[in-house]
């Protein structure tokens, strides 16, 4: 869709004589970080939106050229800091692809466990902040938010036991993982996911049949199948618009082919469809975690020796693109190597960035209150948008 068309305002049959320009962000309670929307209002209705990004730009791709293959994975986690495991995984997968390094099966399974636990934690935060957007810090939204944070905390505890860190892990390294699981960890993880599965039932009981929640989400922010494909959204957004696309299924990596799971697809394309998709993903992630822990093979956790120097990994000349299914969609990393210890060029494909591009197409015509509901259902993380 051409850019000029996006900037056009929609016609809402407004009887007044003055349009109101309103800045939502960069500092705003529901901007999910630092994001600025310049809204054009006719009364309560948004007729045009201009999205301004870049407030959190940290030159990540340039940084990637100055740090070695050993150093960068722990920085990669800072792109999408809510789902750090998957962005690390995308980077090391790209390096492994270019250098043709094999990953032991045990390490592949551990990566899957970490990635799926991360997806659960990320979706917990999504549900909480989304309800906070719709329900307010002084209302039922805050209640859901605190419930979700409570469950996310359990997952973070498990990840802390695994890696020593709670948010940015440095778990992956080229050729495998940095840490093996501590004794008794798998039992704890099983207990945690069992517990969270029961709690997800509670969330669905609280939200699924709630007339106010349905009124706020159904039919709001509809992304048609064509629009989703034209803009290039991915993850829960495109699955909520009726496209059965999941990188884990379309192009299995890290032995995802071994596991039995369902890719949820909803056809409505509205906020509620995206909610449904993510709620099923919660359960499917739990299923995958259980299967991976069940079938965890013995063996080494890395095909390469432990890290002794920062220039240890050298990648032959070449280039490659690796993609993984992050919590927000397809996270890709494109790498060009000139044979040295650092990449010659590195490029991120952030899921949030591509998903956010759909906002100007779907927001106009909605009320101000819907803007935050749509934003929350897109679930952007601005570390990943601006990088």
């Amino acid at each position: 869709m051409p850019d000029t068309q996006v900037r056009q305002t929609v016609e809402v049959g407004y009887g007044g004589n003055e349009r109101l320009m309103m800045n939502m962000g960069p500092q705003h309670p529901s901007s999910h970080g630092v994001f600025r929307m310049i809204l054009t209002l006719e009364g309560e209705t948004v007729v045009g939106v201009d999205a301004v990004i870049g407030y959190l730009h940290r030159c990540h791709e340039k940084l990637g050229e100055t740090l070695t293959y050993v150093q960068y994975p722990s920085i990669a986690s800072k792109t999408d800091y809510v789902a750090a495991m998957t962005s690390e995984l995308a980077y090391v997968s790209a390096v492994e692809k270019v250098a043709k390094i094999d990953v032991p099966r045990r390490a592949q399974y551990l990566r899957v466990v970490a990635a799926e636990l991360q997806r659960i934690a990320s979706h917990c935060l999504w549900l909480g902040t989304w309800c906070l957007d719709m329900g307010g810090a002084l209302g039922g939204g805050a209640t859901v938010f605190l419930y979700c944070i409570r469950e996310r905390e359990l997952v973070l505890d498990r990840l802390e036991e695994l890696t020593g860190a709670r948010l940015l892990y440095g778990f992956h390294q080229v050729g495998g993982t940095r840490y093996d699981i501590p004794a008794g960890w798998d039992v704890k993880v099983r207990e945690t996911v069992d517990f969270i599965e029961r709690r997800i039932d509670e969330y669905e009981a609280m939200l699924g049949a709630n007339a106010f929640f349905l009124a706020r989400t159904q039919g709001v922010g509809v992304i048609s199948r064509e629009l989703a494909q034209a803009v290039g959204v991915s993850g829960p957004l495109i699955r909520g618009s009726g496209v059965n696309y999941d990188v884990r299924r379309a192009e299995p990596y890290s032995s995802y082919g071994d596991f039995d799971f369902v890719v949820p697809v909803e056809t409505a394309g509205d906020c509620y469809a995206r909610y449904r998709v993510r709620m099923v993903e919660f359960r499917q992630s739990i299923r995958i975690v259980r299967q991976a822990l069940e079938g965890l093979p013995e063996g080494p956790i890395s095909s390469r020796p432990g890290v002794k120097s920062v220039g240890q990994v050298r990648v032959p000349k070449g280039e490659g693109y690796a993609r993984v299914e992050g919590a927000r969609g397809e996270v890709g990393c494109y790498l060009v190597s000139d044979g040295g210890p650092k990449p010659y060029r590195m490029k991120w494909r952030g899921a949030s960035f591509s998903n956010l591009a759909v906002l100007p197409h779907i927001v106009p015509g909605h009320k101000v209150a819907d803007v935050v509901a749509i934003m929350g259902s897109v679930d952007p993380v601005f570390g990943e948008v601006d990088r």
């Binding site: 309800c131 329900g135 209302g139 939204g141 209150a369």
Partner: protein, 329 residues
């Protein structure tokens, strides 16, 4: 010793005013504790251990010593006056509430009418605040406020009139006396429905979630009071909670039999307070369980559902009373 009537009324008003302010202060603590339990938290704890008994005082003190900021572009007069204009009607509603037989500032013959009329005046202060701040968020909030309060005052009034028709009087003490046998909240069908409608309209009239679109901090930051700080903010908060408490008291008076209850007569005010807090907690319970709905949906609920329903209810009440023969007492 007998005081001249003017002095006596002044004294009564002084006592009631301070009692209301004290109650409002501690109602905030009650709400915070209640919300905390709902959210599996503890809530205020450290200021005044155990359980934060001094937290409301600390909050009030903090707000008092905060810097008072007036935006450069604000309409100074309107901006400064708004908190007072907002607070006065919210406090005035307590003038007509009797806390027990003959315990109150004034048990007017038109008590309910006075209450309803004064309580809807708060919108003036609210709109002044939103307009005077010269802020787009505040202005949007003020426009929403006018929409919402006009829409919900009518169902609120109609629901409150059902007990009035049943009792045949606008005087609060008479309405309570008429509930001697049966509280109006339990009056078959019409009373029960009216109580429900009253609770819904109360939520909207007090701008609580799911109807808190004026405040809507995730959209409008803090709505009409986004530019207020320090003492002015405290006055607006005080007014809001006073209004909420006032409508809770009115609900207890109209539907839950006021000070009626088992035990000796001196327990009456305590019964009354307990019932008012019950109404308050029901409203709070709803507030902390639902997400906010949109402005157009709120208006649709009022004009398409609540208003016709309460109107029919009021007519039905009239029919019941007419067929019952004697109106009320």
């Amino acid at each position: 010793m007998t005081l001249p009537p003017v002095a006596q009324h002044a004294l009564e008003a002084f006592v009631v005013l301070n009692a209301v302010i004290l109650m409002v202060t501690y109602v905030t603590l009650l709400e915070r504790k209640f919300a905390a339990r709902m959210q599996s938290r503890i809530g205020p704890y450290y200021v005044g251990r155990p359980h934060g008994w001094l937290q409301p005082i600390a909050d009030a003190l903090k707000l008092m010593i905060k810097e008072d900021i007036v935006p450069a572009a604000a309409d100074r007069g309107v901006y400064n006056l708004a908190p007072v204009v907002f607070l006065v009607p919210c406090m005035l509603i307590f003038a007509t509430i009797p806390f027990a037989p003959a315990l109150g500032v004034a048990d007017l013959g038109i008590g309910v009418l006075f209450f309803l009329a004064v309580s809807s005046l708060e919108i003036v202060g609210l709109f002044m605040g939103g307009w005077g701040s010269n802020n787009k968020y505040a202005l949007l909030s003020a426009m929403r406020a006018v929409n919402q309060i006009i829409s919900y005052d009518l169902p609120f009034v109609f629901a409150a009139l059902v007990p009035v028709v049943l009792a045949g009087s606008l005087q609060m003490s008479v309405i309570v006396a008429a509930q001697q046998g049966l509280w109006f909240a339990f009056y078959p069908v019409i009373g029960q429905l009216a109580f429900l409608a009253y609770l819904v309209a109360t939520l909207a009239a007090e701008n609580r979630v799911p109807f808190d679109i004026l405040e809507a901090e995730s959209e409008l930051v803090a709505g009409f009071r986004v530019e207020y700080s320090g003492m002015k903010f405290a006055l607006i908060q005080l007014g809001e909670y006073a209004h909420m408490l006032g409508t809770s008291f009115l609900g207890a008076l109209l539907f839950l039999g006021g000070w009626l209850g088992p035990g000796p007569a001196w327990l009456g005010p305590l019964w009354f307070l307990g019932k008012a807090l019950l109404v308050f907690l029901v409203v709070t319970w709803v507030r902390w369980s639902f997400v906010r709905i949109r402005v157009d949906q709120i208006l649709a609920i009022s004009w398409k559902l609540l208003l016709p329903a309460t109107l029919v209810l009021l007519l039905a009440t009239g029919l019941v009373v007419a067929t019952r023969g004697a109106g009320g007492v």
